[in-house]
């Protein structure tokens, strides 16, 4: 549990008064808090750094924390100073604001941390001076965009399907995410293969083959083996048509699907074939028909479903539409200007190529893009001068928008990389959160086992000493809830076992004695039990090692009375910050280590022969089981 949440615990406990009328039993005794509340007072200054300033300085801005009476809440009478448990480095900048009237944004700090400090001290970010405002806003926008993408990616298509989805939804999902099922993957590769075959066939069709016997002319292969090519074409078109129809059927919104780019490409790719079938062998129309065959080359665009890079390229071009438009416009302007100039410069020359201004367009374009075919060259001196100016300016005009497009492409590409990385990390993170949750659950159950609810005498006090008062109080709260509802908390394992044993009609003996448990464990699967016992021993070792480590971290966290680590409850980035808070989560004595080497490879189903994986050994066993769950 995040240590920062400790401050809310008294509140949650107080609110437990609301359960009292419903509870049939009397509430358990609360733990005695030996420390009086008063020694929460800390004797250090802005985390150790002492700052001194005139009161007037702070009074300059009465609508901030330091300038108003709100700071009285932070006054420490013993040491006669105001204590703030915040970042001392950032505080320097805040204080400078009071001194100079200008707030500066430190470039090396994270913009979010800076924002949090400003929010705490009640300073509106608008006051940031002009010198630093640009940087601040840029970083902030970047951060927000990144957050938006991350939340989008999280809710993305990799989440497992709801169990009761129709065939149509499953089919659509298979099409959109081919790596979710083997069938989809097979289909994906098959279509890819056929696209390649179709494109290659189109290309090879036009290559000249050896002529037929008795003929001198070279024939393109398409005409020589027309039947073979026709069959191949038919097969490809059939596959494409089938794919298109399936997608159309599975699409959640058919109109939207039909308007999408990929679907248009699909249609354009297969239309010529059908039109060709329908068309009669007419001389007039076949000219147009030949043009239609050109559209078959669009099949190559179908590869964009298979290649992410192509999609990124297309997306980049779309997002750089304004830059591309500008490029086009400026080029057109330059072409017209230079073409006119060249035309008039070369007008006098005999037999010149520059017959008209549109004819000069070709020369201008070739020169500006530094191609220089040489089919049109100026002959007059004026023409040559203007021609050189034309080529120099061409370089400039083209070089201007290109970096913009390139940087956009790079940004989008990196975003995509990040999205893929996030997806991979997401799985690990979710697994860790699940383990942490189990850890908290197990801590409570273990607490119950150790008889934490009975009056503690000196013998038991020793082993319970290691828990902090926070844990005591939290467990007390959970115990109150149990008493209110008259049910007890258990965990998944025992619950499922109970269900199984009940369904099988066994009477489970829920005794907590160790002896009976050991007797039972050798009942029907002695070999398994022995292996399990060995593993239990091993995992106990790792648990105790891990628990010592966890205890240390626990002490570190608790000694600062829970005010240091922020639980970032307000920030929307709580998911991202989860990594650094994980150690807080496993406040339980049981720490879940990374799967130890002795994790079994076979999965142990909860067998009814072990009806009470009984309480005393439960903790170790849970470590065992939870490790397995994480590796599954």
């Amino acid at each position: 549990m995040a240590a920062g949440v400790a401050t809310w615990l008294p509140f949650a406990r107080a609110a437990a008064v609301g359960w009292l009328p419903l509870a049939k039993k009397i509430m358990p005794k609360p733990p005695v808090d030996k420390k009086s509340r008063n020694d929460e007072i800390l004797y250090v200054n802005v985390s150790g750094l002492r700052f001194q300033t005139w009161k007037n300085t702070l009074d300059r801005y009465p609508d901030t924390l330091l300038g108003s009476s709100e700071k009285e809440f932070f006054y420490n009478e013993d040491t006669q100073e105001y204590f703030f448990d915040r970042d001392p480095e950032m505080f320097r900048h805040i204080l400078n604001f009071y001194r100079t009237g200008k707030l500066h944004y430190p470039r090396q700090e994270c913009v979010q941390a800076f924002d949090e400090e400003l929010a705490f001290y009640g300073i509106v970010p608008d006051i940031i001076g002009d010198c630093c405002m640009e940087e601040y806003r840029d970083r902030k926008k970047e951060n927000q965009e990144r957050l938006a993408e991350d939340t989008e990616a999280e809710m993305g298509t990799d989440t497992p399907l709801p169990p009761n989805s129709t065939h149509r939804e499953r089919l659509w999902r298979a099409f959109e995410n081919p790596h979710t099922s083997t069938m989809a993957l097979v289909f994906y590769y098959v279509t890819g293969f056929f696209i390649a075959v179709s494109v290659i066939a189109n290309v090879v069709e036009t290559v000249p083959c050896r002529p037929l016997k008795g003929s001198k002319k070279d024939l393109p292969c398409g005409e020589k083996y027309s039947l073979a090519f026709f069959c191949m074409d038919t097969a490809c078109v059939l596959i494409f048509t089938f794919e298109y129809l399936m997608r159309l059927f599975a699409a959640p919104s058919r109109c939207k699907f039909m308007r999408s780019v990929m679907s248009v490409i699909d249609v354009v790719a297969i239309m010529p074939y059908y039109i060709g079938l329908v068309m009669p062998e007419n001389e007039d129309v076949s000219g147009a028909f030949v043009t239609l065959r050109v559209f078959r080359v669009f099949r190559i665009f179908k590869f964009s479903r298979h290649s992410q890079g192509l999609r990124i390229l297309g997306y980049t071009l779309k997002s750089c539409a304004s830059e591309l438009g500008f490029l086009l416009f400026s080029l057109t302007m330059a072409i017209i200007i230079f073409a006119t100039v060249m035309f008039y410069a070369e007008k006098g020359t005999k037999g010149t190529n520059f017959t008209s201004i549109p004819a000069s367009f070709w020369y201008t374009i070739v020169t500006m893009t530094t191609l220089g075919y040489g089919d049109m060259v100026p002959n007059t001196i004026a023409g040559k001068i203007f021609g050189s100016i034309c080529s120099l300016s061409g370089v400039l005009v083209i070089a201007l928008p290109v970096p913009v497009i390139v940087s956009n492409f790079s940004r989008i590409y990196h975003q995509n990389q990040r999205a893929d990385k996030m997806r991979a990390q997401q799985k690990v993170r979710l697994a860790r959160i699940r383990l942490a949750k189990k850890g908290t659950t197990n801590a409570f159950l273990q607490y119950k086992d150790e008889g934490g609810f009975h009056d503690r005498d000196s013998d038991n006090a020793l082993c319970l000493k290691n828990k902090s008062s926070f844990e005591h109080q939290h467990h007390h709260l959970l115990h109150c809830l149990e008493k209110t509802t008259n049910h007890e908390f258990t965990d998944e394992l025992t619950f499922s076992e109970m269900c199984m044993t009940e369904s099988m009609g066994y009477r489970t003996s829920r005794s907590t004695s160790i002896s009976s448990q050991q007797g039972m464990s050798t009942s029907c699967c002695p070999r398994r039990a022995k292996r399990r016992a060995i593993r239990l021993a091993n995992s106990t070792v790792s648990v105790s090692r891990g628990s010592v480590q966890e205890l240390d971290t626990l002490q570190v966290h608790k000694s600062s009375s829970g005010l240091q680590s922020r639980s970032s409850l307000n920030a929307r980035t709580e998911d991202l910050k989860l990594n650094c808070e994980d150690r807080d989560f496993t406040a339980a004595i049981i720490s879940i280590p990374t799967p130890p080497a002795n994790t079994p490879d076979e999965s142990l189903p909860p067998s009814p022969a072990f009806p009470g994986i009984l309480r005393n050994s439960r903790t170790n066993f849970y470590t065992h089981e939870t490790v397995k769950i994480s590796s599954l």
């Binding site: 509870a23 290109v402 970096p403 619950f495 639980s567």
Partner: protein, 215 residues
């Protein structure tokens, strides 16, 4: 060659002009609330200055803006009950604290609520609890309201309980509750019936004593 030159000169960071409209959203409405003075709060509640200081420091640490909205509240409360789903109960709890019904809890609301719960008289505590149960604030608790509250509480237990939650356990609980509370059997529980019935319940009075020392 133009492309080569272009790539070589590509060190600029470009921001799309079309995204400038996001700028306006960056001018966040910084909701910032400052509580009344320490003396005033000390007078209005049953806490000492030191206790208020401690409470405020914790509150301010978690919510620098000075207010808690429902989402944050639900998140905080859910941390204490990882087994089950605490969001429904947290919603009712939030409404009980948000006496002004404006969707957010300020420090004053927080402290007043705590003062009632921890330092108030028995009658005040019972009134607060009645206020919590009476979801639509009409002065009566009917069976539907009670069922919702009880269901929310059972949701917090989660799925894995002993004994297993079979049948409609919340409903049975509600029926038992009404048996005890509804004196004139008119189907609703008024504040007076509630207070009377609770004061007659020995167990409950003893439990209330235990909550004195939570802070």
């Amino acid at each position: 060659m133009g492309a080569v030159v272009g790539t070589l000169t590509m060190q600029t960071r470009q921001r799309q002009p079309s995204r400038d409209k996001v700028d306006d959203e960056l001018e966040m409405t910084m909701v910032c609330h400052r509580p009344e003075g320490l003396e005033q709060l000390e007078a209005q509640t049953n806490f000492t200055k030191q206790e208020l200081q401690v409470l405020y420091r914790g509150f301010k640490n978690e919510c620098p803006s000075g207010v808690v909205n429902e989402e944050t509240f639900k998140h905080i409360y859910a941390q204490f009950f990882p087994h089950g789903d605490a969001s429904t109960y947290a919603h009712y709890l939030f409404n009980a604290f948000d006496t002004r019904n404006n969707g957010s809890i300020k420090f004053e609301d927080f402290v007043m609520g705590l003062s009632t719960l921890l330092r108030g008289t028995v009658r005040e505590k019972l009134e607060w609890t009645f206020y919590l149960y009476d979801i639509n604030r009409d002065g009566f608790i009917n069976k539907e309201e009670m069922t919702e509250i009880v269901r929310a509480i059972y949701d917090m237990m989660g799925k894995y309980t002993y004994p297993a939650l079979k049948g409609d356990v919340p409903k049975q609980h509600v029926d038992a509750f009404f048996e005890k509370m509804d004196k004139n059997k008119d189907g609703v529980v008024t504040l007076e019936e509630f207070v009377l019935a609770c004061q007659e319940d020995e167990n409950m009075m003893r439990s209330m004593q235990l909550f004195e020392n939570v802070m």
